[in-house]
Amino acid sequence: MSDVKFGKKLDSELKNIVFTDKSRNRVLERAAGRRRAPEYGGAADHASAASGRAAEQSRAVEHSETAAFRSSADHTSADHGNAAEHNVAAALRSAAAAGRRLSGAKEWWERLHSFMNLELRIPVKPLVVALFITVSGIVYACFGVTRVSAEDIRRSSITVVNSNQGGQADGIYKNKG
């Protein structure tokens, strides 16, 4: 089986499956929306959290780079070449730091999230919810939140009154203490 044959055969079998103009236009519209967003203050197209974050980071870096470039231009015109270079380097460093700050803990959480989801195939959010409920239950039960002491539980018993009439709902539970 040569790869040319494989590709050609698949293409011939799937030639009815084509990327429609509608899909193409939708991508272009969303791309245009992304481009407009930072300049005109329009709503950015946050189709996904990851790409939204990337856009935010790139805007932060872009902003600093542009500022540095302008600053360097001003200084160059005033014949301060070294100072301009220094400013560019400083602005680039601050841009990189801004990028790092934006990532940080959230980045690590997302890495862990995607590792557990993709590699271990564990649904993370339901797991976190289940853990939260379990831990809350344990805390609730163990730390006397109910104000029922172990002694109360030990001394309590169930007594059925009027059992010859099938019992009554009220007064079934009697605390001997």
Binding site: L10, E13, L28, S48
Partner: protein, 183 residues
Amino acid sequence: MELPERTERPGIEYTLTENELAALMDAYSNMLLRTAVLLLKDLRLAEDAVQETFLKFYAGYANYRGEAGIKTYLGRILVNECRQSRRRAWYRRNIPTPEFELELADESAETDIRSLHDRLSLTEALMKLNVGSREILLLHYYNGLTVREIADALGMPEGSVKSRLKRGRDRLRDILQEDFCDE
């Protein structure tokens, strides 16, 4: 397809124009869509995955360093998108849904690529493989990625890619031969 070269200077905005994005889509969209269809077995999910792939490439173009080819980079994004879609749709897989029906093209005119294996379509045979083998076979034989590029894209050692590639190829051959012997 070639994208404009970058100059490493601050203050220059590394973005694609809409025209370049459109040209990218013209060049690679059908191949990516067919790959996604084979990976997801659902045309709508596949279309969504391909759209997201192009948008992510567009949004993250500043991060594209040009070390890998565009096809490799797009393939990598697509495979991750398909994985995410499968994860998002995990509950749907557990509910019986109508069988995925591909409208396979009539091959009567394609005499040049006819072979003994025409009795069972390659698409159907690929659908019988597990997702891991299908991903690797498609990336290598259909999208044209090298073993190293696949290893980079999927984040696994080259040796694993090679062994999975061999297993997938053997399994595909078995499936096609079983069908041939049945007839």
